[in-house]
């Protein structure tokens, strides 16, 4: 292992290392711009009223056709221009990228990982050479998830005790791990390096320590690591160790 994840600079969004993270960032920037405009316009009109209409007689009006039209028009404008835009964009993003598990799983070279969350660490399981989960050559890691750059990664999440939430700030994704169900998350990294995995859902006193490292490797490096780790796993396999056999048959995505 090389250096630990580097700290971020400044107060903005953490630097984005994923293929699709820019979709989230673009929406965030769009919304930020839109609400800034709305806020400034309304605040300016208020301040104008405060300064200009401090004293002097008030206008006697319960609202005219024109002023009510102004309200309705402004609301309609925002509803279509901002909310509508967000809605349409997000529908596309979710169906094509963030929740599109079908094509992520089908993609060439896609990496499938099972993650079992528990108080307070993340256990990850790779299928090993046979491509199946729950077999002796499964590679199991703790608080250390490694993925290759440039291919989709699909993670199936489970939890053994309480609800956790897998959160990858540098890849702009997050998914709860819920006891009793399997949830999914997919992402694709584009810059090799080490990034942090966080737990976003309060999961007990040591929630703050539920940190893991995501290592994004070049494809060759990832292959080599997985092969070596698979060898080690086969040697270290202990059929008696029930605790280590938490893997499950991979659940193909059925919409």
């Amino acid at each position: 292992m090389t250096a630990a994840p580097l700290p971020e600079h400044g107060y903005g969004l953490p630097h984005d290392v994923s293929v699709d993270g820019f979709r989230v960032d673009e929406l965030i920037h769009f919304t930020l711009a839109a609400i800034t405009v709305i806020f400034v316009v309304v605040a300016a009109s208020l301040i104008w009223s405060f300064v200009k209409h401090r004293s002097g007689p008030a206008l006697y009006s319960h609202g005219t056709r024109g002023s009510i039209g102004l309200v309705v028009g402004a609301v309609a404008l925002v509803l279509v221009g901002v909310d509508g835009n967000l809605f349409i964009h997000t529908l596309g993003d979710m169906h094509q990228y963030f929740w599109n598990f079908k094509s992520a799983e089908a993609a060439q070279g896609a990496v499938l990982i099972e993650v079992n969350a528990h108080q307070w660490s993340w256990d990850a399981r790779y299928p090993g050479a046979d491509g199946r989960f729950g077999t002796p050559d499964d590679v199991i890691t703790t608080d250390d998830i490694r993925i290759p750059v440039g291919v989709p990664v699909v993670v199936q999440l489970a939890s053994t005790d309480v609800i956790h939430s897998l959160y990858l700030p540098n890849l702009r994704v997050k998914q709860d791990a819920v006891p009793g169900t399997i949830t999914r998350i997919t992402f694709q990294a584009k810059i090799p390096g080490e990034y942090e995995i966080a737990c976003a859902q309060h999961c007990g006193p040591n929630h703050y320590k539920m940190r893991a490292v995501l290592t994004v490797l070049a494809p060759d490096a990832f292959r080599n690591w997985l092969a070596d780790a698979g060898e080690d796993a086969r040697r270290a396999y202990d059929p008696e160790d029930k605790e280590a056999h938490w893997g499950w048959e991979w659940r193909r995505f059925e919409p």
Binding site: A4, P5, P7, G10, Y11, G12, L13, P14, L27, I28, T31, I38, F39, V42, L46, S49, F50, H53, R54, P57, A58, L59, Y60, S61, H62, G63, L70, V71, V75, L79, D83, F87, M94, F98, A158, T160, D161, I163, Y167, P169, R172, V173, K174, Q175, D176, V178, P179, G180, I182, E196, A198, A200, Q201, H202, C203, G204, P205, N206, H207, K209
Partner: protein
């Protein structure tokens, strides 16, 4: 002179002699005004408790692992005054629960609901005065349960205010503390339901003659819709709390799932559904009364009728209806079906429309007004500001894409503090400064009030903006020590400065405490019947404070709640306002009564 309608109303609500014994007068009182004061005291006291807990959280983020001054010596002595992770989770859990259920709810709904509903609609008391009394004592019991939980083995609840199982079952938080707190939620729910039944019935049945729905002051609309939401959705929370108690104490399996990857067993997500079906309306339960108060206070001090009163009323009604249909946005990350998620996203985005109508109506009310910047007005305008920030930042979280990143970060915390904490709290303060003369017969000191205002407004904005910034940079919520994460390391300064502002905000509240007690027990200057020169019944048809039976004669309402700067009224009376039941000199009365509003 009394009309037939007035005579009927008075016959239905005869004047009862006021109680004479101390207990009946001040303790087990059925007088809505006394019960309102009881709720006010109980709520303000817990506001202090909840605020202190908030300071502990901020201390932890500014100076992790360092002993807390004063409070640490008092309550955390066995730990050397240092907050540990287990204590920390109890602190933020009880901070949230206390602020929502045991501080803001009693002040906004318990106090103002009780005090204002009969007075503003022109009734002599609530529909069910005894039920009202039971509601308060049940509420007090729930507060005591929460306090008791701190003194149990293993301490108080630690599963977050949302109490998500399995963390909130014996799997995650064993011990009687969490059980007591869940029981307290159930009991306070019973109290809220009792209050809600009373409020809804009172507004339906006891309005004074002439007080049509479209003449109700907006405060009444806010409180009435809140009561409807309470009546409908608090029982859902009650059932969630009930099932959780069964899971904790009787070994049932509603929320405890089987081992990993095994189907069968209970469903942790079921609790989230039940919780948020209640929980999202709860957000509006806390904000609608504040909207209502603003809807009256802004026109009062702008000396101008509320802009498009009916638009605001319908917007509030639509928000009430939609509030139960958007709750899924709290659960986008639980693996819910995409179709369901998108439906919830659509409704959540739609709810911004009525909210915008309300805010724009305030802005247009202030346009070409004649604004008086008294303390209540300052608080009201600050509420518009912080609610604006809170509402607009909600757009990010309504959207699933952005929620992928922002969910469960400090951004969420900042957003809901701007709406539920800042807007509700400053909205409640608007009400306290505005109705204090009516409740206690004396006016709070204006100079101290303005000092309190600036501390509160600037403080709250800076504190919650700091939270928004931290969340924008990715910091998760509820972290005992956020700086375990490398990517949060750079936010040390931000967190520490936010804490400084929070300490200043907290300190500034003692100006209010001083003002409150000084006015209450200091030299008495009677406020007079109508110190703000406004129009609604509690100011124009009775004294300050009102007598036990509220109105000597039940008023007959002849006009809407915001009749300001009407040239006709000015010509007849020389004033710029006309009370809701005021009969103007001259024969122009009926014509004005027929005027819209």
């Amino acid at each position: 002179m009394s009309t037939a309608a007035q005579a009927l109303a008075e016959a239905a609500q005869p004047i009862h002699p006021p109680p004479t014994s101390f207990w009946r007068q001040y303790v087990f009182s059925i007088d809505h005004k006394v019960i309102a004061k009881q709720f006010l005291w109980a709520g303000l006291l817990f506001l202090l408790v909840g605020g202190t807990l908030a300071m502990l959280i901020r201390w932890q983020w500014a100076y992790p692992y360092r002993p807390v001054p004063v409070i640490g010596q008092l309550f955390l002595r066995e730990n050397g005054g240092v907050i540990g992770p287990a204590t920390y989770q109890q602190i933020f859990t009880t901070h949230g629960l206390i602020m929502i259920f045991f501080a803001v709810t009693p002040v906004l709904i318990g106090c103002f609901g009780n005090f204002l509903i009969p007075l503003m609609i022109g009734a002599r008391d609530m529909a069910f005065p005894k039920l009202n009394m039971y509601s308060f004592w049940t509420f007090l019991l729930s507060q005591l349960l929460v306090l008791a939980s701190f003194f149990t083995d293993l301490g108080s609840a630690g599963a977050g205010w949302t109490t998500y199982p399995p963390l909130s079952t014996n799997v995650g938080t064993p011990g009687p503390g969490q059980t007591l707190v869940v029981a307290a939620i159930f009991v306070t729910g019973v109290s809220s339901t009792m209050g809600a039944i009373n409020y809804v019935t009172t507004v339906i049945r006891m309005r004074a003659p002439g007080m049509g729905y479209m003449r109700l002051p907006l405060t009444m609309w806010g409180l009435w819709l809140t009561a409807i939401l309470n009546a409908l959705f608090v029982p859902v929370l009650g059932s969630a709390a009930l099932l959780l108690l069964l899971d904790r104490n009787f070994g049932t399996q509603f929320f405890v799932a089987g081992a990993s990857a095994v189907r069968g067993g209970g469903d942790p997500i079921l609790f989230q559904h039940l919780f948020w079906i209640f929980g999202h309306p709860e957000v509006y339960i806390l904000i609608l009364p504040a909207w209502g108060i603003l809807g009256d206070v802004i026109p009062f001090f702008a000396r101008k009728p509320h802009h498009w009163y009916k638009g605001t009323v319908w917007a509030m009604v639509i928000v009430t209806v939609l509030s139960a249909m958007v709750y899924g946005h709290h659960m986008f990350m639980t693996g819910m079906s995409p179709l369901l998620g998108e439906g919830f996203m659509l409704f959540t985005l739609l709810i911004s429309a009525p909210s915008m109508v309300v805010v724009l109506n305030w802005a247009l009310t202030l346009w070409r007004a004649s604004i008086r910047f008294d303390t209540p007005m300052l608080f009201a305008l600050a509420t518009v500001f912080v609610f604006g920030v809170g509402g607009l930042t909600g757009l990010f979280l309504a959207d699933i894409s952005m929620d992928l990143y922002l969910h469960d970060t400090m951004f969420v915390v900042g957003h809901f503090h701007f709406t539920m904490a800042a807007a509700s709290f400053i909205g409640a303060m608007t009400g306290v400064y505005f109705w204090f003369p009516k409740i206690f017969g004396r006016k709070l000191d204006e100079r101290l009030g303005k000092a309190h205002f600036w501390f509160t407004f600037v403080g709250i904005t800076l504190v919650f903006a700091g939270q928004l910034l931290a969340g924008y940079a990715g910091q998760q919520r509820r972290l005992f020590d956020p700086f375990q994460y490398t990517f949060i390391q750079g936010l040390r300064g931000l967190n520490r400065w936010t804490s400084f502002f929070a300490f200043a905000l907290f300190a500034g509240q003692f100006i209010f405490v001083w003002n409150f007690f000084k006015t209450l027990f200091g030299k008495a200057v009677p406020a007079g019947e109508n110190p703000w020169q406004v129009t609604t019944l509690e100011w124009t048809a009775t004294g300050s404070p009102p007598p036990f039976h509220n109105f000597d004669r039940i008023p007959e309402v002849v006009r809407g709640p915001h009749e300001f700067s009407n040239p006709e009224v000015r010509r007849l009376t020389g004033r710029d306002f006309a009370g809701q039941s005021e009969v103007l000199p001259g024969s122009a009365g009926p014509a004005l009564a027929a005027a819209r509003g």
